[in-house]
Amino acid sequence: MAMQIKLEHVTANYKIGPLLKPRVLDDVSLTLNPGRITAVVGSTGAGKSSLLKVCNGLLIPSEGHVTIGSKEINSKTSKQSLKTIRKHIGMVFQFPESQLFAETVGEDIAFGPLNFGTDQRRAEQLARKALQQVGLDESILSKSPFSLSGGQKRRVAIAGVLASEPEVILLDEPTAGLDPAGRKELLTLLKRWHDEEGKTILFVTHDMESTARFAEDVIVMENGSVVYHDAVRPLFENTRQLKEWQLDLPEARRFQLGFEAQSGIHLPHVCLTEKELMDALIEVGCV
């Protein structure tokens, strides 16, 4: 049974010494559909990262509460129950490679499972499995994480989160700083993990191409509020609304709109990838 994440009237603030950054999340209510891939988009500072942090108890709501499975996070939740929650909710931060610390890749990946109370043998098994899931060879298990390339480090860091076998995985801009090929490869790996294990994925991205290709649902955030939470396709239908939210269009959709404007032919449905676009063009008999 996949875990459900539910936010009810969540308001959250950051506090550094005397400085208060109020209402980074402003009365957010949403229910994350279990077993689906959801993208979180929005302009910088909209509160996307904060939304993720609230979902695994790194940022505690000042008002409202978050329900995760049967557990609730509010201002009174103890450290210990947060740990139980985090066992089920994996989180990959932006530039996760900066969290690597152990002497060997194997140890680093096993850090999570060991913290959550699995024994050494099982943790090693899990590390192997996670490494395979992110498409790396077992031979690097005994290497130092600091000797790897940037892309490999990123994958090891993600493996370190997958190894705890979370029910839900939250990723903050997992593809930031990767080239288009690397981006696609990483998302494909995550999608495969999702398809095989039926787990929930929530990822923040600035890239509409990835959103169109990999996400099933989209959350659009603006100034700490969720302004859209629905399937991908309807989002890219309303271009005027997208402009207001300062969101781009995926390339295929942009081509479709240009084509429709110039030729006067209306394609039967919204196309998000080249393949869909091709099929639609064949369908109306243009090719």
Binding site: P18, R86, F93, S98, Q99, N115, F146
Partner: protein
């Protein structure tokens, strides 16, 4: 991390904020020496009054200052206890082997406590009201005469300003790494001392690695942009000494005279 007060700047516009950093550094340093001049009750009270007066004029809440004491709490407690329990003289109230409680010890402890806390308060007031960059500029200006002895004052000040510049980054980075390790089930500040120390490894190693990488990057950037340590440096920000700053120094002198007078009378 967010509780660390020492070395943090609180923006504001108080009389103290507006003082020249040189004046603040001089007064802060002077206060440390002065606190050793206090040898009787009058002197003690004067130190407290001065410290609280300064804190009041910074317009920063006293709570902030008390929170700044917290990291040093054990050190202060330890020193004070040592003084109370192992000083003899005056009336003896109680003894147990080498441990004794005497009137002299209590007075001595009171002095130590006062020195400790007022020095922390005053130096905290200086750092809270001075931008780190101004602090380095001020220090640089005060140390400049040492150049006569061929001491690399400019380089010191450059090093200091770079170090200060990176403190906020380091704090942010620490928070980020802590978040990331917490998400992987690490728990900080729980368990035995040994366990707590072990829990710090996953934070410090990434921080060290990151800092080294950033330091090297910065060095390269400085090289590429033509930084040469042996050339004379000019400054973009100018420090301006005002009448208020002179007053500050005068007040400090008055304090010294007052303490000296108390000692002579006492």
């Amino acid at each position: 991390m967010n509780r660390l007060i020492l070395g943090r700047y609180f923006p504001g516009d108080s009389v103290i904020h507006r003082r020249d950093p040189r004046a603040k550094i001089l007064c802060g340093a002077a206060f440390i020496f002065i606190s050793f001049l206090a040898k009787n009750m009058e002197g003690l009270i004067l130190l407290w009054m001065f410290a609280f007066g300064i804190m009041f004029f910074t317009k920063i809440s006293f709570r902030t200052y008390f929170r700044g004491l917290r990291p040093l709490f054990w050190l202060i407690l330890f020193t004070v206890c040592l003084q109370i329990l192992f000083t003899s003289g005056g009336t003896l109230y109680w003894r147990f082997g080498p441990i004794k409680l005497s009137s002299f010890g209590i007075v001595q402890a009171l002095f130590i406590f006062t020195r400790f806390v007022t020095i922390i308060f005053v130096t905290t007031a200086v750092t809270l009201t001075t931008k780190p960059m101004d602090l380095t500029d001020g220090l640089h200006a005060l140390l400049r005469p040492l150049r006569l002895f061929h001491l690399p004052v400019d380089e010191w000040s450059m090093m200091l300003s770079i170090a200060l510049r990176f403190i906020p980054n380091l704090l942010d980075e620490t928070q980020r790494v802590m978040d990331a390790q917490s998400a992987r089930g690490a728990v900080f500040g729980e368990g035995s001392l040994f366990q707590q120390m072990k829990a710090l490894v996953p934070i410090f190693l990434p921080l060290f690695a990151g800092s080294l990488a950033r330091g090297e990057e910065l060095a390269n950037v400085m090289d590429v942009r033509g930084y040469r340590s042996e050339l004379p440096r000019s400054s973009f920000r100018r420090l301006k000494w005002t009448f208020g700053d002179t007053c500050c120094l005068l007040i400090m002198c008055l304090l010294i005279v007052a303490l000296a007078a108390f000692n002579l009378n006492g």
